[in-house]
Point group: C2
Chain length 164, copies 2
């Protein structure tokens, strides 16, 4: 009799139906993080934040520290520490910023790019797998939806129930 186990699953479903959105996202993030860590660990020895930074630098869409830090949403301190680690491991090069002397530019070293090339296929396949779990409409809507939420999540003072 697996009624107990089933009861737990039913209880989970019952709760999830009325779950705050932020809880759902948190729960999802926990699972995604664990999945990513497992994949990264199987194919190298980067940490998850290290991988994220390398991945963004490798997109060649920006090299300023602030831009990279902000897309990732990283805390200043964590970003600083992770970049130091990457630099110490010779995966990333830290260069002067041409305009803003507070910032710096980031570039991959040969070794850094090698790590990126080794990991990219694996993580891309995962991303594909995740996207395939969604219906076409969901695929189309989820990115803008997440972006809107991301902006809304930056508000510090919430309009108190003056809505209707």
């Amino acid at each position: 009799m697996l009624s107990e186990e089933k009861d737990d699953a039913e209880a989970v479903a019952r709760i999830e139906a009325a779950f705050p959105l932020s809880f759902m996202i948190h729960q999802l993030q926990i699972k995604l993080g664990a999945q990513a860590r497992a994949l990264i660990a199987q194919h190298g020895d980067l940490t998850l934040p290290q991988w994220r930074i390398i991945r963004v630098i490798g997109m060649d869409a920006a090299d300023g520290s602030t831009a990279i830090r902000k897309v990732l949403g990283f805390d200043k301190s964590q970003f600083s520490k992770t970049v130091t680690q990457l630099q110490a491991r010779g995966l990333v090069e830290v260069l002067d910023h041409p305009v803003d002397r507070r910032q710096f530019r980031l570039a991959l070293t040969g070794e850094g790019r090698a790590a990126l090339d080794r990991l990219t296929p694996v993580l891309s396949a995962r991303n594909e797998y995740l996207m395939q779990a969604l219906s076409p409409e969901e695929r189309a809507l989820i990115r803008p939806a997440l972006q809107k939420l991301s902006i809304a999540a930056e508000t510090t003072d919430i309009p108190t129930g003056t809505d209707t």
Copy 2:
């Protein structure tokens, strides 16, 4: 001249366009977590994980430890430690589980329910605020989408690019 600042913002937008989904969710979760911490801190002295557990118990949809732990996605260890804190602070009561002797049941004490009632309006208003940032279709689709992703995120071995 705010060209520098603007350049950063443009770079961020450029990167985000081609961002892996998992990165977007991670970035969103960071912001949501910070927002929730700020709100909770303003209205009491709970930690975020403590609040989450209290909130779920207060839904009265389940009281078994496993069900509560799994909807939140919490690590066993973290869950155990946070429940101990809540019990020590007298916010939560730990009772025997009627069927499974490995688990326990959780219930709010009077003080626990008071904390819940104090915080709920604030956090509910935030949830409303977040939902209002979405279009009606997005609102309708986001929950099932996140649930599908959550299931997909549990897969440990990803089908390697054999798709086409």
